[in-house]
Symmetry: C2
Amino acid sequence: MGQTRITVELPAWVEPFVAQWPERFDSAEARMRLAVELASRNVEHRTGGPFGAAIFEIDTWRIVGLGVNLVEPSNCSILHAEMVAIAMAQQTVGSYDLAAGGGVRHELATSTEPCAMCLGAIPWSGVRRVLCGARGEDACEIGFDEGAKPPDWVGELNRRGIEVARDVLRDEARAVLKRYAQTGGTIYNAGAGA
Amino acid sequence: MGQTRITVELPAWVEPFVAQWPERFDSAEARMRLAVELASRNVEHRTGGPFGAAIFEIDTWRIVGLGVNLVEPSNCSILHAEMVAIAMAQQTVGSYDLAAGGGVRHELATSTEPCAMCLGAIPWSGVRRVLCGARGEDACEIGFDEGAKPPDWVGELNRRGIEVARDVLRDEARAVLKRYAQTGGTIYNAGAGA
């Protein structure tokens, strides 16, 4: 029947790295900088693809969950940075719905706009805001595939009450993608060779 | 920084349950029956939502990975049955790409058509065929949300070389959804209350 268990864990470098940052991330730029720096360190440490994400409690601006891309080291195609951050944040709050109760709102900051899978996951997560760094086309530029996203994906999220801000530190986020490609990082489009 | 680890594990009833089935699942109906029965048992055992999935190696027709919906018990909105089956199958083969190498092909059987997230995950998984039981509208009928799927999602998968067969044991699969709703199962549309 195959394997019956998988443990998903952030790389060991994440905790000491995050300990150097202030506890509050008041500005959108500060929150995106954390996501982009997670992506950058993930490339440096060779612990996965060039993507990072973080979920914050809106108003207190504290971290609730972090994510980096773990596809290659975990042998698992679903472990994009956004998915890992969603899973970790939900473990922190103890609910599959970050909007449960309705009192506390959460924001997802992602170093690159979500692919079709992560876009589909966002409404199920309960986050109420999404900050994006690099554009989907920046990821495509180095060979990644975005999947079949609705042309008006921002509007689709908006209609569900989820705000979206794009191009926050886009240049910095895009630079991480380029460095990954230049240093020979795997462009892991599963199924592409089949 | 929030939680840094999550372990995803199939419920304990799955292994003895699957041990009662033959090793080979030669027909599409047999493969779908397993997915639908996983959904049904998941409801009975109250270990998650009314959805089951299984990934088979094409030609040998052996199970490579199984999934049931674990959203509620795991407090994790991404743990739809298809996502769990993909993660488990990839652990079994030791690759994030079930099409790696190109020799062995895999099929995903899912008791209900994929939502937007799972649909986005399918191309990244490396499966080459998808068998669907109940339709997305059957899930919507009991109150679940499918998300923003491309209108021609079957064509989108086909264009990536992924075959799709629909309505395999649809009535049986739909009956599991109805029973879940009638017995008061949670319709866990995260964020819906916000």
